[in-house]
């Protein structure tokens, strides 16, 4: 158990530091393509990676980097893709917002909000027709659940009895507007209940808890041919205060895309925020601080040698 915790912690920190490396290159203007970093999404990515079995498929959104790192485990190939090189994971044809890795089950990625939900319905239906005891996982944010396709896809997944996870990563932001700035509150539990779809909310960034819960839900979905809606509370890290003459106290900028100016590649530990909103900080529930520091140093060295 202790070793398992360590490996999970190691993998979470590795995704964090890999993103920090990308962020530094991004700040230096090394990429022509737009990239949406996913600081704060590391625990969800590792948890899903851990519960996915061979035949399972996952469909991502534009904020896919954490999941591609968790599944592909190869920063260099992702960087090559971002540089649009043939050696990249998508042969330089996908860039960032459509980055996928079919050999690792990342079968589709869409930059259009809500677009991937219905493609996932087709993938899940195909798994059923092929008699595969697998699950289709699709991710979107609190912005994408505002799209009509989200509701259409819930309806289709339930009506066609498809084993799938419809995951909402709720970070409360859609670009520069928070939920309370753009819409009424939506009780996702009640909404999915109206469709007769099982709902689960996960928060706190405890990977062991996430994995345990997701495994149970996977079994339920596969055995009962049922969709499950999972809402993760997540904080996309990288917000900052912009200095500007018009804003004497500074202007709050939520991180959406591009380089995160206030996040710096730290040797150890790679913590951005001292609260459980930060998956690396939340690892303190599982690991000693000294272990986290030791892992960070080791990962940094590994990445340095990988990228030489």
């Amino acid at each position: 158990m202790e070793n398992m915790n360590k490996q999970i912690g190691f993998d979470i920190i590795k995704i964090r530091i890999s993103q920090m490396v990308i962020n530094e290159l991004y700040k230096d203007g090394k990429f022509k393509i737009p990239i949406h970093l996913a600081f704060g999404h590391e625990t969800i990515a590792i948890s899903l990676d851990r519960i996915m079995e061979k035949e399972d498929k996952i469909l991502l959104s534009h904020r896919n980097i954490a999941y591609n790192l968790a599944r592909g485990k190869n920063l260099k190939k992702i960087l090559d893709e971002y540089y649009l090189k043939k050696e990249g994971v998508g042969e330089g044809k996908l860039g960032s917002m459509n980055l996928m890795n079919t050999s690792k089950g990342i079968i589709y990625t869409s930059s259009i909000l809500g677009n991937n939900f219905s493609v996932a319905v087709g993938v899940a239906l195909a798994q059923k027709i092929h008699s595969i005891k697998g699950i289709t996982i699709v991710l979107g944010g609190d912005g994408s659940m505002e799209e009509g396709s989200f509701h259409e896809s819930l309806l289709m997944a339930k009506s066609l009895k498809l084993p799938c996870f419809i995951i909402i990563e709720n970070n409360e932001w859609s670009m520069s507007t928070s939920i309370n700035q753009r819409r009424c509150n939506v009780d996702l539990e009640k909404l999915t209940s109206a469709y007769g779809i099982k709902y689960c909310k996960l928060s706190g960034n405890n990977p062991i808890k996430y994995i345990e819960e997701l495994k149970k839900l996977r079994e339920y979905a596969v055995n009962n041919y049922e969709p499950v809606c999972i809402e993760f509370d997540v904080t996309t890290l990288g917000d900052w205060i912009m200095k500007h003459d018009d804003y004497p106290n500074g202007k709050y900028i939520n991180y959406h895309a591009g380089p995160a100016p206030t996040i710096e590649l730290k040797t150890c530990p790679a913590i951005i925020k001292t609260s459980e909103q930060d998956p690396v900080y939340a690892l303190k529930e599982l690991l000693d601080e000294s272990e986290i520091i030791e892992m960070s140093e080791k990962i940094r060295a590994e990445i340095d040698s990988e990228l030489i």
Binding site: L94, S110, N115, S118, V119, A120, V123, L125, I129, E152
Partner: protein, 317 residues
């Protein structure tokens, strides 16, 4: 046999043969079965017929999801207008899939809409702009206009690796299907069919105007005027060389295009010929839009056959 019965027969023959095929769409196996288009469909045990939810956008996405998972499917659609709701997938989803080698499987996805072109629909439900859908992301599209092209296109394209849209005309449903006696030329893509070879005038039909072109050809024949008759089954521009070659010989062209689009395919042909072919007579028949065009009116493309015959005859003498 009428146009609808023949197409229904061809669809039934094709879908019955395939393993693991999904047929979906609203009411495709209930009620009138899309006015009879999908009546009596039978599939193998490992296939499915789904009377789907009213979720056109997601149904398009679902078809692509099946396709990248190696399952072939056909989405039958009561009218082309509904496909407006699925445009995101026609563009963005299709673009991602066809740009990623890993996802190009042997599976087929066909959207099979009825183009509601029989008039009196009013401001909605008469989106007879098939070409606009195909143009938006360079999608292969095919119109079914007669017995010959129906056989060729349905047999080869309905369930075939890749994605395409095949459109049928509601206006023609109850008409006896036209059976061309012989076919002079068909290109490899089944986007251009030539039915007659004549020295006096070239007729080129676009969208669903083949019946008018066919009638024109017969009327001219009665007057002793020999025509070369083409039908362009693709709603977007193709290689025009075969047609241009014919016009170089006849020097006269009649073009018919009954699409409602502001960007009709026949204009692409005429632009291509401009300056490169010497033409003594050019007659272009398109829909006319007056102030009532949004009202429920008989908005058929009018063809004044006698006037055209006179024009062609005078020049022929």
């Amino acid at each position: 046999m009428n146009y609808l019965e023949f197409i229904n027969k061809k669809i039934k023959e094709n879908v019955a043969m395939h393993e693991k095929l999904v047929l979906f769409g609203q009411n495709i196996n209930a009620g009138s079965c899309l006015g009879g288009l999908t009546r009596g469909l039978k599939v193998k045990d490992n296939s499915m017929i789904i009377n789907s939810t009213n979720t056109e956008n997601s149904l398009c996405g679902c078809g692509f999801g099946l396709m990248i998972s190696s399952i072939s499917s056909i989405f039958f659609m009561k009218q082309l207008d509904f496909l407006l709701l699925g445009i995101d997938h026609l563009v963005n989803t299709f673009n991602i899939i066809r740009n990623n080698h890993d996802q190009i499987s042997n599976a087929s996805f066909t959207i099979f809409p009825i183009i509601v072109d029989n008039g009196f629909q009013g401001p909605q439900s008469s989106h007879n702009n098939f070409g606009d859908f195909c143009s938006i992301a360079r999608i292969q599209g095919y119109t079914i206009t007669n017995k010959f092209d129906a056989e060729k296109i349905i047999d080869s394209k309905l369930i075939s690796p890749g994605f395409r849209i095949i459109g049928v005309s509601q206006r023609l449903f109850k008409n006896e299907i036209i059976e061309p006696e012989n076919v002079v030329f068909v290109n490899e893509e089944f986007s251009l069919f030539q039915y007659t070879e004549g020295k006096d005038v070239t007729i080129v039909c676009f969208n669903f105007s083949f019946p008018q072109g066919w009638k024109m050809m017969q009327k001219l024949k009665e007057k002793g005027i020999e025509t070369t008759l083409f039908n362009v089954n693709s709603p977007t521009p193709i290689n025009w060389e075969k047609i241009i070659e014919s016009v170089r010989k006849t020097k006269k062209i009649i073009v018919m295009d009954d699409s409602k689009s502001a960007n009709v395919n026949c204009d692409a042909l005429l632009a291509e010929m401009c300056g490169s072919v010497s033409i003594s007579k050019k007659i272009v028949i398109k829909r006319k839009f007056d102030k009532d065009w949004l009202n429920p009116i008989d908005d058929q493309m009018g063809v004044d056959y006698d006037s055209i015959i006179n024009e062609i005859s005078n020049k022929s003498v």
